[in-house]
């Protein structure tokens, strides 16, 4: 894996405020989609801002494309794009002028063909002569993406790209982001929608109170920290959990008709244990008429981690 962004010991402390980033280390690999998850005020936007030049770090180093951002900021920034969380754009400007301006700002010569390509890919070409204020919320967000893509960045930051957009548009945005990655763009996105990260990300990072709690490949994380819940509807209600099944983490419903398994410590291990449980039930002659299984989502893992972090913080 070739690193495209290397953050070492990044800190941001405001004079009269809390520590927004506390010695964060993070490496982003070329070509991946990295999702940064965290509750409000966790430090996600501050982290992006520090890389993109909106926030002045209190400490640490940031290297992009092998260049030190503090020294070679012009060259590095020319290859980085940012789609902000807020709907910030000059509302009285025409769509095509706004995107053309962004391209010039990043030092590239005018290229109407490329602008047309970008606007077409985001289904904005028909709206090119409209003032941005006349577009719908979803279209405005696409304009922000078009502006960020105008200089063909190799590394693109999307800060809450689908905040406030409807489900259909969100799915459409996911397709757009997938297409950008297919074109070779490395993408770092922050999101509140865990399913967004679950759907798109190769790796996830979870940040809370300025601390990066973990960074891991998404599938590995879900396999390692995920859990399985399996409910068996018994053919004959039982008065208590059968002794033959005492080694399994089981609970019995009050009416004795449902036996529930809750396995933690990784979805793969739990899934295997459910298979063993089925064999044990058959061996013990306990019949069942239905099995209902549920695998924990990234959201469950996220909530667990953030709650654990909060408890640790309270104890400290």
């Amino acid at each position: 894996m070739q690193p495209i962004l290397e953050i070492v010991g990044l800190s941001k402390r405001y004079a009269d405020g809390p520590t927004a980033l506390d010695t964060v280390d993070l490496t982003i690999n070329k070509g991946e989609i990295f999702a940064l998850l965290g509750p409000n005020g966790a430090g996600k936007t501050t982290l992006i801002g520090a890389v993109c030049g909106l926030v002045r770090p209190s400490g640490g180093t940031i290297r992009a494309f092998g260049m030190d951002l503090a020294k070679d900021w012009r060259s590095a920034r020319a290859r980085i794009g940012l789609v902000p969380q807020e709907m910030a754009t000059d509302m009285f400007t025409k769509v095509v002028d706004a995107v053309t301006y962004s391209r010039g700002l990043f030092g590239l010569k005018r290229d109407p063909a490329r602008i047309e390509e970008i606007l077409t890919s985001l289904t904005l070409w028909d709206k090119r002569d409209n003032q941005i204020r006349h577009l719908s919320g979803g279209m405005k967000r696409r304009v922000l993406i078009a502006k960020a893509l105008a200089h063909d960045p190799e590394l693109l930051f999307l800060d809450e790209p689908t905040a406030g957009v409807d489900v259909e548009l969100r799915r459409d945005m996911w397709r757009q982001i997938g297409a950008m990655r297919a074109n070779g763009t490395t993408i770092v996105l922050t999101t509140h929608y865990i399913e967004e990260a679950e759907e798109m990300a190769d790796r996830v990072g979870i940040i809370d109170k300025g601390n990066l709690l973990l960074v891991e490949e998404k599938r590995a994380l879900m396999a390692r920290m995920g859990s399985i819940e399996a409910s068996f509807t018994l053919a004959v209600p039982q008065p208590r959990v059968p002794a033959a099944l005492a080694d399994f983490p089981l609970s019995l419903s009050e009416d004795g008709a449902t036996l529930t398994y809750r396995g933690h410590g990784g979805a793969d291990e739990a899934r295997a244990e459910v298979a063993h449980l089925v064999e044990a039930l058959v061996r013990a002659g306990i019949g069942f008429t239905a099995i209902d299984t549920h695998q924990s989502s990234l959201e469950d893992i996220f909530v667990d981690l953030v709650e654990h972090s909060a408890q640790k913080g309270a104890r400290a």
Binding site: C52, G53, W73, P84, E86, D90, G104, L105, G107
Partner: protein, 255 residues
């Protein structure tokens, strides 16, 4: 990349387009206001006034009226140019782009100054309909107008970074620049003032700007024109220094 010329040009053209988009407010309104001054003080009252320094009253007040408009408009344009992106959040794009203080100033300040030059040209053409005048040193007049426009565009830019509300943007041009310009010899020679008002008037820096420009128009000045030039250059340098510091520290630009 050492200097992003295309970035500076993009800001410059974008800002000029913004001015033309608001043509009535940016160009037409100040020209109309200045024309009214020429009608009242030049054509109507001017004919009954005695000459000052051998120059007809209507022609005498042209440099002052020009500055009255230029100082306010240049300051307002430059301050709004940078304040609006701060207010709406669009400044993120500027801060994340490969542009530094030089490109930003060339773009924003250059556009504000260019707009002021267009405004000055229209005002001078308009004045010729109401007042007979000629410019004694046209090249120097042009250079001085460029210098003053650049200095006050820088001042306006710094004001736009400093301001944390629309009220502050309006206070400086309306409550400081305009009164100082009115009292800075726009409509009279400060030699006409009795003591101690004449000495007090010399403390007003706008007196030196008005007289500097008046010298290029009439060849006459109430003050030493080298002091006028020095003060203008010093003000320009001070504003440029303040803005360089703002960018270096990120004061009110970066969090």
């Amino acid at each position: 990349m050492t200097f992003n010329a295309r970035g500076a040009f993009a800001i410059f053209t974008f800002e000029l387009m913004r001015a033309f988009r608001t043509f009535f407010q940016s160009i037409f309104a100040p020209v109309l206001t200045t024309s009214l001054y020429f009608i009242v003080f030049g054509a109507a009252i001017g004919g009954r006034m005695t000459e000052i320094d051998g120059v007809s009253y209507g022609a005498y007040i042209i440099p002052g009226l020009l500055l009255l408009t230029l100082l306010g408009e240049t300051t307002s344009n430059a301050s709004f140019g940078i304040y609006m992106p701060r207010f709406t959040g669009t400044i993120y794009e500027l801060l994340s782009a490969p542009v530094g203080v030089a490109e930003t100033l060339i773009g924003f300040v250059g556009a504000a100054a260019a707009k002021s030059l267009i405004l000055a040209a229209i005002i001078l053409v308009t004045a010729s309909f109401f007042v007979d005048y000629h410019i004694a040193h046209p090249v120097l007049a042009l250079l001085y107008i460029v210098l003053v426009a650049a200095a006050f565009a820088l001042f306006g830019f710094a004001l736009g970074v400093w301001a944390d509300g629309f009220e502050k943007l309006g206070i400086v041009p309306m409550l400081i620049l305009q009164p100082l310009t009115f009292l800075g010899g726009t409509f009279y020679s400060i030699t006409m003032l009795p003591e101690p008002w004449r000495q007090i008037a010399l403390v007003n820096p706008i007196v030196y700007l008005v007289n500097g420009l008046r010298w290029t128009f009439t060849g006459k000045s109430d003050v030493n024109i080298w002091i006028s030039l020095g003060l203008t250059l010093a003000f320009l340098g001070l504003c440029a220094g303040v803005i360089a510091w703002m960018f270096k520290t990120g004061w009110r630009l970066r969090s």
